[in-house]
Amino acid sequence: MRRATQVTEANHSSQEQSNSDTTSVDDAPLEAYQSSLPGFLGTIDTGISRVESLMLAAGVLLMAANTMSNVVGRFVFQSSIFFSEELNRILIILITFAGISYAARHGRHIRMSAIFDALPPKLRKPLMILISLVTAVFMFGLAWYATQYILTQAGRGRVLPALQIPVWMPLVWVPIGFFMTGLQYLLTAIKNLIEKDIYLSTNVLEGYEDNEQEI
C-alpha cells in the first residue's frame, strides 16, 4: 500500500492516503502547509497556500449558505434569491481552480498508481519527473489559452444578467489556478531531480511501509 509522508520543518507526522480516492474522508486532516522552498520564496509559497486553503473553505461555506438560504427563502418567504445561481457558478470556479493547485501541493490528484507503484524505485523516479514535467507543460499551456479566452470575453464586454458584473471577472481564477498548478508540478520535478527520494508533490514524500506486503 501507499504511504505518503508529510515532511515539513514544523512537523514530521505522517498521513495515509490512497491515490485512487475521489471522495474519501479517511485522510488525515490537511495540516498547515510549510513550504519546502528556501528563504523568501518559501514565505511566498506558504502564503499562497494559506490563501488557497482559505478560498477553498470560504467557497464551500458560502456556497452552502447561498444554496440553503435559497431553499429557505423559497419555502418560507415564497421567493428565491435572484442571483443565487450566478453566485454558485462563480464560487464553483473559485473552488475548482483554487483547489487544483492546493491538491497538487498536497499530492492529492487522483491517479491510477497501481502500475507505477509496482515499478522499482530506479524507474519510478525518472517516471515521476516525466509525469510532473508533462503535467506542468499542459497546465502552463491551459493557463495561456485561458488568459486568451478571458481577453476575448473582456473584449465583448458582456455582464452577468443578475449580478451585473463583467462575465470575465469570475474567470480570472482559471488561468491563475492552472498557472499555480503548473508551478507546483514544475517544482515537484525539480525536487525529484535534486533530492534522493521520490516526491509525490513538493512536500509529500512517496514511500512504503516495510512491514506490509507490497501490491
Binding site: M1, R2, E16, Q17, S18, N19, S20, D21, T22, T23, S24, V25, D26, P29, S53, M55, L56, A57, A58, V60, L61, M63, A64, T67, M68, V71, R74, E85, N88, R89, I92, I95, T96, F97, G99, I100, Y102, A103, H106, R108, H109, I110, R111, M112, A114, I115, F116, D117, L127, I131, V134, T135, F138, L142, Y145, Y149, L171, V174, E212, Q213
Partner: protein, 428 residues
C-alpha cells in the same frame, strides 16, 4: 484519429499521470487534429468552463459536504446500533447488519469510500471477534459499500444525469430497487455463510433496548427522509435536497450532538473543497473531451464498427454494461462516466432506451467495477483503511461479484426492478 487519441490516453493513464492529464491531453489532441493546430484552443477552455457550469452539479459538493460532516460525527455509529439491535441475534446477523448498515449509510452519504470508512471501520473488529473469516469480512464491506452508489444520494448518478441530460431525481428513485435487491442477496449469502461455517450468534436484544436504539438513530434517519421523501414528494430538486442535507447535518453535529465546533466545520469545508476541485477539474476536462469526440463523430465510428445498430435494446445494454464494468476495473468511476457516456449517447437515443434505465445499469456496473480486481478503487480504499495486503482484501470477492453480476443481468431483462418505483413516483 480515434485510435491516436485513445492510445495516448491509455498510455498516460497506465503510467500513473494524474487522471486529469489523460482527459486534457485527449481533448487537446482532438482539438489539434480537428482544427489543424492551435487555432481553437480557446474553444477547449470554453468547453471546460461549460462542463462545470450546470447548476445541478452544485449537488455534488453539497452532498460531499453533508457526508463529510456526518462521517466526522456520530451518525454512523447510531445507525449501526439500530440495525444490530434488530438483526444482530439472527444466524449471520452481524454480517447482515454490516450490509444493512452500509445501505443505510449510503442513504446518508452517497460515496462508497465514505461508507467503507464509516461502517467498515467499527464493524470489522466486531465481526472478527464473532468468528467470521477476514477475507469474508473485507469482501462483504467493500461490496456492500457499493450499494451506497445506487442508494440516493449518489455522486455517480448526478454526474451521469448532468452529462447525459437525464433527470437526476428520477435516477435517484430508480437506484433504490436494485440497491435493495443486492442487500437481500448479500443477506441471504451471509446467513448461508454463517450456517456453513457455524459462526456463533450474538445475544438477543430486548425490546426496550431496541426502542432506545431506534430513538438514538432517529436523527440520522432524517437524511433519507429529506432526500428520498423530498424528491419523491416533489418538494426538493436534488440540489435543494443536498443543501437541506448540509443544513440538517450542520444542525445535528454542531447543535444536537455537539461533536463539531467551528474549527471542525471549517476544516471539513476545506477538505470538501479539495475533493470538489479534484472531481470538477475532471468534469471540466471530460466535457472538453466529449465535445471534441462528438464533434468528430467518433462515437458513431467506434460503435458502428462493432455493429451496434443491429443489436437491439438488450444487446446495447449488454455492450454498455461490459464497457463500464471493464472501465471501472481500471479507472475511477467518475472518469469512466465522463468518457463513456458521451460515446454511448447517440446509440442509446437511436434504439430508444430509457436514459434512466441506462443510468441505473451504468451506476450498477460502476459500483461493481469499483470493487473488482485488479484496480477497483474501493479495494485500495479498503487496503488503506484496514491496512491489509491486497490479496486478503480481494480473496473473498468472487461470490459477491457473481451476485452483483446476476443482479445486473436481471436488471437488463427486468427493467422494472429499477423503473417500478420511478414510474410510481413520477406517474409515468
Amino acid at each position: 484519429m480515434a485510435v491516436t487519441i485513445f492510445s495516448i490516453m491509455i498510455v498516460l493513464l497506465l503510467l500513473g499521470f494524474p487522471m486529469m492529464i489523460p482527459l486534457i491531453v485527449g481533448a487537446f489532441v482532438g482539438f489539434f487534429m480537428l482544427f489543424d493546430g492551435m487555432a481553437q484552443m480557446e474553444t477547449m477552455i470554453q468547453q471546460m468552463m461549460a462542463g462545470i457550469r450546470p447548476a445541478s452539479l452544485i449537488a455534488v459538493p453539497m452532498f460531499i459536504f453533508a457526508a463529510d460532516i456526518m462521517t466526522r460525527g456520530q451518525s454512523a455509529g447510531r445507525l449501526i446500533d439500530m440495525v444490530m439491535a434488530f438483526v444482530g441475534h439472527l444466524k449471520g446477523g452481524l454480517a447482515v447488519s454490516t450490509a444493512a448498515a452500509c445501505t443505510m449509510f449510503g442513504a446518508v452519504s452517497g460515496s462508497t469510500q465514505a461508507t467503507v470508512v464509516a461502517i467498515g471501520s467499527p464493524l470489522r473488529p466486531r465481526m472478527l471477534k464473532a468468528g467470521y473469516k477476514d477475507s469474508f469480512i473485507l469482501a462483504l464491506i467493500v461490496n456492500s459499500s457499493d450499494i451506497a452508489f445506487l442508494i440516493p444520494p449518489s455522486i455517480g448518478m448526478i454526474i451521469y444525469g448532468v452529462v447525459s441530460n437525464t433527470s437526476i431525481a428520477e435516477l435517484f428513485i430508480a437506484g433504490i430497487g436494485p440497491g435493495l435487491l443486492i442487500l437481500v442477496l448479500f443477506s441471504i449469502y451471509s446467513v448461508i455463510y454463517a450456517i456453513r461455517n457455524n459462526v456463533p450468534t450474538e445475544e438477543k436484544t430486548t425490546w426496550p433496548e431496541r426502542l432506545r436504539a431506534v430513538r438514538q438513530a432517529l436523527w440520522p434517519m432524517g437524511f433519507p427522509a429529506i432526500i428520498i421523501g423530498g424528491i419523491y414528494g416533489g418538494i426538493f430538486s436534488p440540489t435543494e435536497a443536498a443543501a437541506a442535507c448540509v443544513l440538517y447535518a450542520l444542525l445535528l453535529e454542531t447543535v444536537v450532538f455537539r461533536s463539531l465546533d467551528f474549527t471542525g466545520v471549517y476544516e471539513t469545508a476545506k477538505s470538501t473543497g479539495l475533493i470538489t476541485a479534484v472531481v470538477f477539474i475532471l468534469v471540466g476536462a471530460g466535457a472538453a473531451f466529449s465535445w471534441v469526440i462528438s464533434f468528430a463523430q467518433i462515437p458513431q465510428a467506434i460503435l458502428g464498427s462493432i455493429g451496434i445498430d443491429e443489436m437491439g435494446a438488450i444487446g446495447v445494454l449488454f455492450v454498455i454494461s461490459i464497457a463500464f464494468f471493464i472501465g471501472c476495473m481500471f479507472v475511477d468511476p467518475i472518469v469512466v462516466i465522463l468518457v463513456l457516456v458521451p460515446i454511448f449517447a447517440p446509440v442509446v437515443k437511436s434504439v430508444g432506451l430509457d436514459p434512466v434505465l441506462v443510468g441505473t445499469v451504468i451506476t450498477l456496473q460502476v459500483a461493481i467495477g469499483s470493487a473488482t480486481p485488479p484496480f477497483g478503487c474501493d479495494i485500495f480504499t479498503a487496503i488503506a483503511v484496514f491496512k491489509r495486503p491486497y490479496i486478503d482484501v480481494v480473496r473473498g470477492t468472487p461470490p459477491f461479484i457473481l451476485m452483483l453480476l446476476s443482479v445486473s443481468v436481471a436488471l437488463i431483462f427486468f427493467p422494472q426492478i429499477a423503473l417500478f418505483l420511478r414510474d410510481l413516483a413520477f406517474a409515468k
